[in-house]
């Protein structure tokens, strides 16, 4: 087993799923810091991705994670390569305090500051997640699979907090399914976790569904883009 270079961090997951939903760009712009531009699949419509991870091995043990992101234009240096996509996670919820503190300190990722409950109900060709907090539901999402292939995908992740703006490359590896069959669904509940979203304006059917099984997530070292 090779030793990771300094600054790289790996997280092993059993399940990583993501649903992409259209939201009004006005909502996306309210969420994004000024230096980031939302990607619009349709004019006036930006992309909310709702992702859920079931990590079984990491620096901070096993935990579940719910991530809300807005997709943004990737940064590109002269001669550089474009990532598969770039996104700005604007709120994460985790099932353990240790994972939350780790992600805030290490990656400057904004968190819901209390444990959430996250359940994965896996079928042979579909999967349901239910996230809740304090006995109240946050979000229910149902996604389906299509066809599976082994992949290694590069993503660009943007972070922003009082200390500055950052980016990191995230590599996702494992058996992967992606489709635009519009067979999934989402219910976004009335909960403080969802306060940044215009719930009535979220398209309840994902235009894209992604699913990785038994894979590996690798964070590259954080880069400071804008410092105070």
């Amino acid at each position: 087993m090779s030793v990771l270079p300094e600054g790289f961090v790996q997280y092993h997951f059993r399940t990583a799923i993501g649903g992409f939903f259209e939201i009004p760009t006005a909502n996306a712009i309210r969420i994004l810091p000024p230096h980031l531009q939302p990607v619009e699949p349709h004019h006036g419509q930006s992309v909310l991705s709702v992702m859920a991870f079931d990590f079984h091995d990491s620096l901070v043990g096993a935990y579940g994670e719910l991530i809300y992101s807005v997709h943004v234009a990737p940064r590109l240096a002269p001669g550089g390569r474009l990532p598969r996509a770039a996104f700005y996670p604007f709120l994460l919820g985790t099932t353990t305090k240790a994972s939350r503190e780790h992600a805030i300190e290490r990656w400057h990722l904004p968190h819901f500051m209390d444990d959430i409950a996250l359940t994965f109900d896996r079928g042979p060709h579909d999967i349901r997640i239910n996230a809740a907090h304090g006995g109240k539901p946050i979000v229910d999402m149902h996604l389906t699979d299509h066809s599976w292939e082994n992949v290694s995908h590069n993503y660009q992740c943007h972070m922003h907090d009082a200390a500055g703006s950052y980016q990191s490359t995230i590599v996702m590896e494992g058996p992967f399914s992606e489709s635009e069959d519009e067979r999934g669904s989402i219910v976004v509940h009335d909960h403080a976790f969802n306060a940044a979203l215009d719930r009535g304006e979220i398209n309840t059917t994902p235009f894209r569904e992604m699913w990785l099984k038994d894979g590996l997530q690798t964070f590259h070292p954080l880069q400071l883009l804008v410092a105070p």
Binding site: H153, T169, D181, L225
Partner: protein, 436 residues
Amino acid sequence: MAHQTLPPESTPPPPDAPASNGAMSEYDYSNFFYSSSDDLFTIFGAYDDWWYGHAREKGYYLFYQAMSTAPKPRIELEEGLHHEKRALLNLASYNYLGLSYHPEVIAAAKGAVDQYGLGAAGSPTLSGTMDVHVQLEQALARHMGKEAAMVFPTGYSTNVGLISGLVRPGDTIIMDQNVHASIVDGAILSKANTRFFRHNRPDELDRKLRDVKGKKLVIVEGVYSMDGDVALLPEMVAIAKKHGARIMIDEAHSGFVYGPTGRGVAEHFGLDDQIDIHVGTFSKALGGMGGYVAGSKSLINYLMGFARSRVFSCALSPVVTAGVLKALEISEREPQLRERLWANVAHLRKRFADAGVDVAESTSQIIPVMIRKDPRVFAIGEALLNAGLYLQPIIYPAVAKHKSRFRISVSSVHTPELLDSAADILIDVLQREKIL
């Protein structure tokens, strides 16, 4: 507060870094639309790497191949990778009634070039309107059963000029998510609030119209160009009217082929008088180029002043205008062209049904042959080309992921024998490629 801006990542990761496969070969146009950098041209490097290093040879060369004949059922074109001339069966051209090279159309165009020269030499608002333009607009209004019609230089500029000329910031446009890019671009230019409803879903249109205040325009197409399915127009019209919205239909692919007299899908459903704005093109069934709006005299009069894509463009070439005028006359005079088209569509559909070819929800003369396995579509396109059949691959992002396809455009000038030959090639290739 002073900020220090640092450059984005430009150094490669260390050699012992984990695999960092950008999977450039799997990228598509959508990966290169957005980027953020300090120089507008930075994207060119990444795009060139993709295009010349991966995309072109992978199969994108199948686009932009140059044809050296009229878009007849048998054509000659230069294959895009090795630049070899190929004689092919053609099921890719829009020429639904075969009028682009009809002898009378060609004669009309030749007469016009002698009379008017090549171009209109002016905007229609100024010196560019010629008597042949007026004749075409009058003939169109009569054909459509409307008070007036207006001709635009292209189909694209028709939608852009119409929508941005009529709709204002604060108004709301609600359109099917599969409408043509020209409709979307017109909506963007209008600066109106825009909403998309899921394709051909009246319930979604109803949901999107709820609580919308002020002026509203609903936009659908007669036949959708990628799927070949027909708008659920009766339901759409009823919902639009319930909410007090005006309704516009773009009959680019259905004008002159649908309806008892060829007025389009609106006529097919008996809803001609319920539609507020009719749009169409001359580049499909009539085999020319340009577009039109038909409706009330007041609508056309207003657009004369405010459809900027028309006001600030040179008028449609009088040569093309004369050809289109003759093509319209032939389409009215010879309903048997439409009858032959629909007989051909039925013939080809039966061949496909018998062989189990997946044509999705299509019911029109546009027949998508669904491949669905995106990575395979270019290889199949190349196999079809090598076997003598010209079809265009349609891939993401023009259609959704795993919805890749070949799009067939049936014409009245195809013969059953030629359609059988084309079907034989297609079915054989799909079987060899294990799609069937």
